[in-house]
């Protein structure tokens, strides 16, 4: 049985779910970019030495 205002509940739930997953995905992308840069900086440092 579908109760009244189900759409409001679903919207609120999805807003929270998408915001949390979106945040984690953004931080994951940042981590990947930083690790890539760290690797290249380490390589440059080794070349200079």
């Amino acid at each position: 049985m579908m109760y009244k205002y189900f759409g409001f509940f679903l919207t609120a739930f999805l807003v929270i779910f998408v915001a949390v997953c979106g945040w984690i995905y953004t931080i994951y992308r940042q981590e990947k970019a930083l690790l890539k840069e760290l690797k290249s900086l380490n390589a440059n440092k080794s070349e200079l030495e």
Partner: protein, 214 residues
């Protein structure tokens, strides 16, 4: 930890949809409460951590406390934004309007705007000591709004209130324990997100130092 949080998240959703009672007036809109209140709780815990980290940073000048404060401020603001979005979604069918300038909503909005100021200082300032000190002071000052938000439903006159009064003690066990489990899930999620963000901030700091060295 991620797996455990995912399982608990699905369990809470199951309990919310299938076990907890349906409010005869608010129907499904009332179930937003299981996500709206834990979001507010998480934001409050995050802002408490910002204040503690800010005090420790000002005392010890250790970068790790600045990272902790910044990560907690970001997460507090994320969850505060979720409170400000899910609240109006609930209010639209129940109050007939998504927003009302009543005490709790207004104080939460003020909190959110103070933290917008905090991030403006962080982003427009440099990476140096001065920016960290100013943002730490904002983090400490901003926390004084958290107890005001908490007592706002009792502090102002009853005719100025629209927000429901806290009454968890009077709830049936299905409502009470589902709510408690939801609080636990949000707290664990916050701890996980905080640790991840602090790790990224440390990594960023390391990259910035290496850029300078190379």
């Amino acid at each position: 930890m991620v797996g455990a949080i995912a399982v608990l998240w699905i369990t809470v959703l199951y309990l919310v949809l299938s076990v907890t009672r349906i409010d005869p007036e608010q129907q499904m809109a009332q179930k937003i409460f299981y996500y709206h209140v834990p979001s507010a709780w998480t934001a409050g815990v995050a802002y408490l951590l910002v204040m503690i980290a800010a005090v420790l940073y000002l005392m010890k000048k250790d970068e790790k406390f600045d990272h902790l404060g910044l990560a907690a401020a970001e997460l507090g603001t994320l969850f505060c934004a979720l409170v400000l979005i899910t609240g109006p979604i609930w209010a639209k069918p129940i109050w007939g309007a998504p927003w009302s300038w009543e005490p709790r909503l207004t104080t939460v909005l003020i909190m959110f705007l103070i933290y917008i100021g905090y991030f403006m200082v962080r982003n427009f300032g440099d990476e140096g000591e001065r920016t960290r000190r100013i943002s730490s002071v904002i983090g400490i000052a901003a926390f004084f709004n958290v107890p005001i938000i908490y007592v706002s439903v009792k502090f102002w006159a009853a005719d100025a209130q629209l927000h429901p009064q806290p009454a968890m003690g009077q709830q049936s066990p299905d409502v009470f324990w589902t709510f408690m489990l939801s609080l636990l899930v949000f707290t664990l999620l916050f701890v996980h997100m905080l640790r991840y963000r602090v790790h990224i901030l440390k990594l960023r700091s390391k990259v910035l130092k290496m850029r300078y060295d190379v």
